[in-house]
Amino acid sequence: MSRQSRQVSRRGFLKGSGAVMGGLVLSTWLPGFIPDSVAAEATAAGRLGDQTPRGYGAYVRVGHDGKVTVISPKIEMGQGAHTGIAMMLAEELEVRLADVSVEDAPPDAELYTDSIMQFQATGGSTSTRHAWQPLREAGATARLLLIQAAAQRWSVDPAQCEAREGVVYGPGDRQAGYGELVDLASTLPLPASITLKTPDQFRLIGTPARRIDTPNKVNGKAKFTIDLQVPDMLVASSLACPVYGGTLKSVDASAARQVPGVRDVVTLDNAVAVTATNYWACQQGLKALKIEWDLGENASISSPELDAALQKASSADGVVAHSSGDVAAALEAASSRFEAVYEQAFLSHSPLEPMTCVAHVRPDGCDLWVGTQVPVFAQQTAASITGLKPEQVVVHNQLIGGAFGRRLDYDFIAQAVAIARQVSYPIKLIWSREEDMTHDMYRPHYVDRLTAALDADGKPQGWQHRIAGASVLARYVGSLPASGVDADAVEVAIDPLYALDSLQVNYIREEPKVIPVSWWRGVGPLRSTLAVECFIDELAHNAGKDPVDYRLALMDKHPRAQAVLKLAAEKADWQTPLPVGQGRGIAVSAVFGSFVATVVELEMQADKGIRIKRLVSAIDCGLVTNPTSVLAQIEGGTLFGLSASLFNEITIEQGQVQQRNFNTYRQLRIGEAPGVEVHIVPSTESPGGVGETGTALIGPALLNALAAASGERLRRLPLSRAGYFPV
């Protein structure tokens, strides 16, 4: 059958697919499927859907050999998204997980936009939440079409057929593998309605599955961007102006060009790059450059001024992000007031794979081989720099060696394209660790100022919460809405778990200007959770109440949060007294659609040494797709947050980031990493996010434990600022 006739027939059926059937809307996702052979043609043409109707085969392809390919709208950066998404598809398609391979979706905002974030991206702990519905629907649709094809071939009623492990079984001994049925199935109309399995019918979802991307990550075979080799490619490395906003004045490259292996020296507005046969030669070339920078106006700015400006801003009114009840009246009438100010540092992402991008710019097109959380932005950026049309830019997404939000930005992709357009060959841009750390997009420094109105029992009647810091959202999308409120920054703060008669949240935007800010694992909820959970803990101690009981009494409207708080406390033996010099701290939050509580038990040692004896978490993230990934994400996410809480702060001296490598921006090492006990609450609620939840809870649990063990109530991270260190 010709592609043309398939296209025409398919289009007719797609028209009718927008109706609501059995409570399901198919129109948004158009989860058809196509044979591999057709897909290969479409992929070679740049993207799926150029010749075929939009969305045709957006999520699933089935080969003539029966092998299934899921086109994943979410990239793999260690969080297990590829495996979870393959499981969702396999569950409904009735194939074995081992028969599913994963391909990253091409940039296509229409097909792969995240339903929560409203753009095509991997982040915000959305992967499972977003994929849950469309991927299962894609699997179910494809299964129904394959069953229909078998029934048609055998001239039987589809109701007499069923699919198991990639085979359709019919009356008598009839059976046919999916591969045999693909061609016929792809000519059939989409089913009028589909019914998804109920949780009690799941055979794969909810069971601990091995990650599908990991076997090649233990033998050196997995390729990250930094490992790619395309024909005629050279390596490139760059030095950007050490002060953000500065520019290149001049460069003497004569010595650099003499370095063996060096091919070209390329200048950009704010950077110089060297291309060479290998990375070492690039670095030798960069060292041999004599560069003069125009450091610009930021070169006079250092951390103390930035700190002072932010402190001052935290007492201003900014804009009101939320107001319920009358906080002013409550504070006026209060039996007593309680105020606390919490501060969190600028942070670097520092994934272990530094920023890397392979780019090949030609007069008629551009290829990018890069691990990116935002393929559409990568494509658009390359198009705008080269003057090519977006469809002339092909993005080959890659495994990512850690991102933690860093690859939601595409500054390094822009730089790779800007270099590549000046040379005739593909380049693999690799930033040195120093370049990566000093030219990151940083988690903002924030100050949270809270004032509570307390009754005679020390119970809060209401509180005011002022949030001061740079707006990541505004930097990322260009501006804030007319309200002036950064919705990310005030999340959690405007909707605390605790019943308050009055609540006012003010948002005060204070831009550091000297460094750019960006998303960092945990994003806004991380910051707000620290402030709210330390504050409620302080209020409990102020009232002479147990921190768990005090919280529970204010959480009547949040049974799932209450349940994880109780579970974490119980599993951590919260009621068992500890000797002097030891203490437990707890924190609970509703973040990324999940409910999480964490307990830290720690012991003070000599000279401000702290030993974390236990770390216990409980999570209710609704229906779990792969419990293995949930456990791993809570463990890793918690320790990732612990590392930053203990050690990390980016500081600025005369416009330059002072931390340049892991010797001055140290990370948690194995001897400092406690075990993490994770308890998952069984649930049939909608799936919640997981990847950032552990990170959001550890900071406040740690500070609360430190207060319980030492009596010192620290309100600023990292702990190393106050001389504490892990032992």
């Binding site: 233990v218 272990l352 660790r433």
Partner: protein, 153 residues
């Protein structure tokens, strides 16, 4: 010309003697399983074996290893112990992003070679040079202990 033995293969390479082994392995030999993380021996992503000992290849001039046996992640599974470590890594679902894990596995294999049944303190010391930003440390410890037990049995 520098003579080099990597994963049992002999090479004669025209590279500067001060070029770090890491970049010879990655950019000249095309063995990209060994990773670059910091360039100053702080993170351990570049860990390879030199005559069975774990070393940081990012600061090791290739001229200093002439004539000695280099093993990388691509070949560590050829030894029974290396293969057991890789298998334990999968069984314990250690890996997240995976970028550091080549170095972790090389360090763990060298540790287990020296200490077939390492204590927690020995694991802490033997693995102290390897950073995992995904913080998979708990599982790394469990996987190492598992291999240790296997050896004992």
């Amino acid at each position: 010309m520098i003579q080099l033995s990597v994963n049992g293969e002999r090479y004669e390479l025209d590279v500067p003697a001060d070029m770090p082994l890491l970049w010879v392995v990655r950019d000249v030999l095309g063995l990209t399983g060994t990773k670059f993380g910091c360039g100053i021996a702080q993170c351990g992503a570049c860990t390879v074996h030199l005559d069975g000992e774990a070393v940081r290849s990012c600061v090791l001039p290739v001229g200093a290893v002439a004539g000695r046996a280099v093993t990388t992640i691509e070949a560590v599974g050829e030894s029974a112990l290396g293969s057991q470590v890789q298998q334990a890594w999968l069984e314990h679902e250690v890996v997240q992003c995976g970028y550091c894990q080549s170095g972790q596995i090389m360090s763990a294999t060298a540790l287990l070679q020296r200490q077939p049944n390492p204590s927690d303190a020995e694991i802490d010391a033997g693995m102290a040079g390897n950073i995992c930003r995904c913080a998979t440390y708990t599982r790394i410890r469990a996987a190492i202990k598992d291999v240790g037990k296997g050896d004992q049995a």
